[in-house]
């Protein structure tokens, strides 16, 4: 029998009652979002036509370290949280590493990922404001599913623009959103100006997250009494996702552990930002010094090969501009890329921390990522989402380095979700039909050419 527990699941009483706002402890703040027309920092008023009022407030609030989680949000959190912190005993044994590997499992809910943590408050605030519904985009489908689940609970309309290639390749994701009553439209579509423009320029496009964002933002801003909600990148989302890190830290304290390394996958940055929040705070405040490692796909390498520049959050260039590590909103990831994390940019908070040296980043090719996913599944009985498998690969490599050095490091990684809707990708991997793609410097230059030509980017 194992000596320490296999996992820690906090009781509902031990669950954090507040989100933690990492910005409040940062030595330097991320650069402000800019209005594209005036190049001035956006205000709550600027955001009001697009975002719910309270979410606009949270987006711009860098002062309050702790923000109360509303009781109705806690009620729905308690339907699937606290999420377990699991010791990967069998993975350690299989690797022969002296490292102790823990992972926070955010996949035990019907949306299948951590995305529900932000979908719930976003739907709640929209309902509170008396809106009829929300609009959003989804890529692989995790965010759209999460939002559908949350909207269904609160009785709120939900219009999802789903990246066309996912819409076609993942009908089951779409069906799932339908079960929860959402309207799902493949993007680009003819229902918005942004969609029509993109289709006119590139009729054969299989869509992109940036393009779906343009359509969802336009649909919200068109005076239908709806607002736009986004599942990653934004400061408010990183705030909501702090529940992941806060629970992880309490659970590790119960075990008398503190991570030497925290590893998370990074697409738009919501999971990573949430997982690392309290640990990064310790690091910034000089209390502890954990290494923080972001893992991204080699096919969409915004941190490792992107530029730190002002850019639009969407392909259609209808959103405010944020300073972040980006490949350019015109960057189109290769269609053979199987598992999420396809966003061209990165959370401004994480971008700033990376820029200031608080965080490392590493990029892996997808066949290596799926190899790690299958290895993990066979030892830990959990089928990970391909996104999560990036973090698994990162954690395995950390553990193998410990094997070489003999160091008994404590590794914590985020298992963001499950892979039930990614079986085609798994089958492609197992049958040897999966290929890798690393953008050439030329490919990247094309993306960078789409960056806004503004004074802030010339500095």
């Amino acid at each position: 029998m194992k000596k320490t527990p296999h996992k820690v699941i906090l009781t509902e009483d031990q669950m954090p009652q507040q989100w933690f706002n990492l910005r409040a402890v940062m030595k330097e703040q991320p650069d402000p979002m800019l209005r594209p027309d005036t190049l001035q920092p956006v205000t709550e008023e600027d955001l009001a036509p697009i975002f719910c009022k309270e979410l606009a407030r949270q987006e711009l609030d860098s002062a309050d370290a702790y923000i109360d989680i509303p009781e109705p949000v806690l009620d729905i959190y308690k339907m699937y949280r606290p999420a377990p912190l699991i010791r990967a005993y069998d993975l350690e044994r299989a690797l022969g590493t002296p490292a102790r590997i823990y992972f926070k499992h955010e996949g035990n809910n019907t949306s299948g990922s951590h995305k529900l943590n932000s979908a719930v408050p976003q739907a709640y605030y929209a309902k509170q404001q008396g809106l009829s519904g929300v609009t959003t985009e989804t890529g692989a489908g995790q965010w759209g599913t999460a939002l559908s689940v949350a909207c269904s609970y609160f009785g709120l309309g939900c219009d999802v623009y789903m990246v066309k290639c996912s819409y076609e390749q993942k009908p089951f994701r779409r069906n799932m959103m339908n079960v929860f009553g959402a309207n799902v439209t493949p993007s680009p579509s003819m229902t918005t100006e942004a969609g029509r423009r993109i289709l006119a320029e590139n009729p054969g496009t299989s869509g992109s997250l940036g393009c779906a964002i343009s359509e969802a933002v336009e649909a919200a801003a068109s005076g239908t009494g709806k607002r736009y909600v986004l599942g990653s990148v934004l400061n408010q989302v990183v705030l909501h996702q702090s529940i992941i890190g806060l629970e992880s830290k309490i659970a590790m304290e119960q075990l008398g552990e503190y991570p030497d390394v925290v590893v998370g996958c990074a697409g738009g940055g919501s999971n990573l930002g949430g997982l690392i929040a309290p640990f990064m705070a310790d690091k910034i405040l000089g209390k502890k010094n954990p290494r923080i490692v972001a893992v991204e796909p080699a096919s969409c390498p915004s941190l490792t090969r992107g530029r730190y520049a002002y850019d639009f959050c969407d392909t259609g260039k209808v959103t405010p501009m944020a300073r972040m590590y980006t490949l350019g909103s015109g960057f189109m990831p290769a269609p053979n890329h199987a598992g999420g994390l396809r966003y061209h940019g990165m959370s401004p908070i994480l971008s700033k921390l990376y820029h200031d040296g608080y965080m490392e980043a590493v990029a892996y090719e997808q066949t290596k990522v799926f190899e790690a996913a299958v290895f993990f599944a066979r030892h830990e009985t959990i089928l990970p989402a391909p996104e999560s498998a990036h973090a698994i690969k990162g954690a395995i490599d950390e553990a193998l380095r410990c094997k070489e050095t003999g160091e008994e490091k404590v590794i914590l990684f985020g298992l963001t979700g499950t892979g039930f809707f990614d079986m085609t990708a798994y089958e492609n991997y197992l049958s040897g039909r999966m290929s890798d793609y690393i953008p050439t410097d030329e490919d990247l230059q094309k993306g960078f050419a789409s960056l806004p030509d503004i004074p802030q980017n010339r500095a």
Copy 2:
């Protein structure tokens, strides 16, 4: 904020360390399994060529009330257990019922169902015995997935005969088993005599669970150093699944609750038998008097319309005969039936209890079941497996009766698993393409005609 916790998840320390054997408290034992050739009760020696030694022992052991769960089994249980007991607050509110509804959620593991609870010990005992692998059948795919996961953990070979219509309609289930390293063959196949015979008689058949069992048993008995394992019906499986009921009872005690009604879906009976075990024991021993309700599909109504007779467990008639409620091993459920529970018979333990009046049974048509599933999903954020939705429908009807009478009953039901691999069925339901099927008396007569013509059935 809710006054009582939303859910109870036991700590690993509180987890039961022993399975509970319901047979040990039954006033009358189920009739013994018979050898088809001699019509004498089977012995451990008879079962040894097919089953692992320890599992054959458990199958025939009606004396020991408690059986220690081996430590390696507990270790893997702790990777996904204890499973939460959840109060369905929002479902209660939506129904406007004074009843308090609780459900035990067994779907939070990669196999997506309670089946893993028996797959783990079955794989463990096979490994302990030094076998090279196990063979089995799977219908909807839950059991095959669970067994693949367990075998992968213990490093044991796993050959799965998958009912052909599922194999074709659910490629993702098959891919999942492949991720965990199992060999999956569509059944009936040309790899066994039973399969060849069934194909010769009925070349266009889409297969059945009973037929896949015949093939798996034959493959195990053919001297390859493998043994056959089964995910339901058997006494050993009901034993392993008692962990569901034992955990439920402890969790309810922590809340100061005891169920007035326990509702479970019933196919072969493994989940139901496990869920009700400690409550049924209280009832048999006169300590408490909960109602126990089995819910089955109207398309495969073994309890509500079957005969209590000796029958083969498989279509190919290669297994021992068990006395149970059965539609006849030749009964073929309608191909339009979407969600599991397609087995022709029912656990001999449950059959005996039903026959002796300890248990009620009700049958629902599938459109009603999916209606309940979608209603539940939208209120409780969990997408249930169609199998589980039978229990949901049963629980909702109980709760609605409480609404009429004003009784504050405590209802406990088993949520056996998640519906991630049943999206086609959900889509058919949502789009109005799902139809119902209730076998005519003539259909049933055809099935009954396949019952063995032995003295025991003529009594």
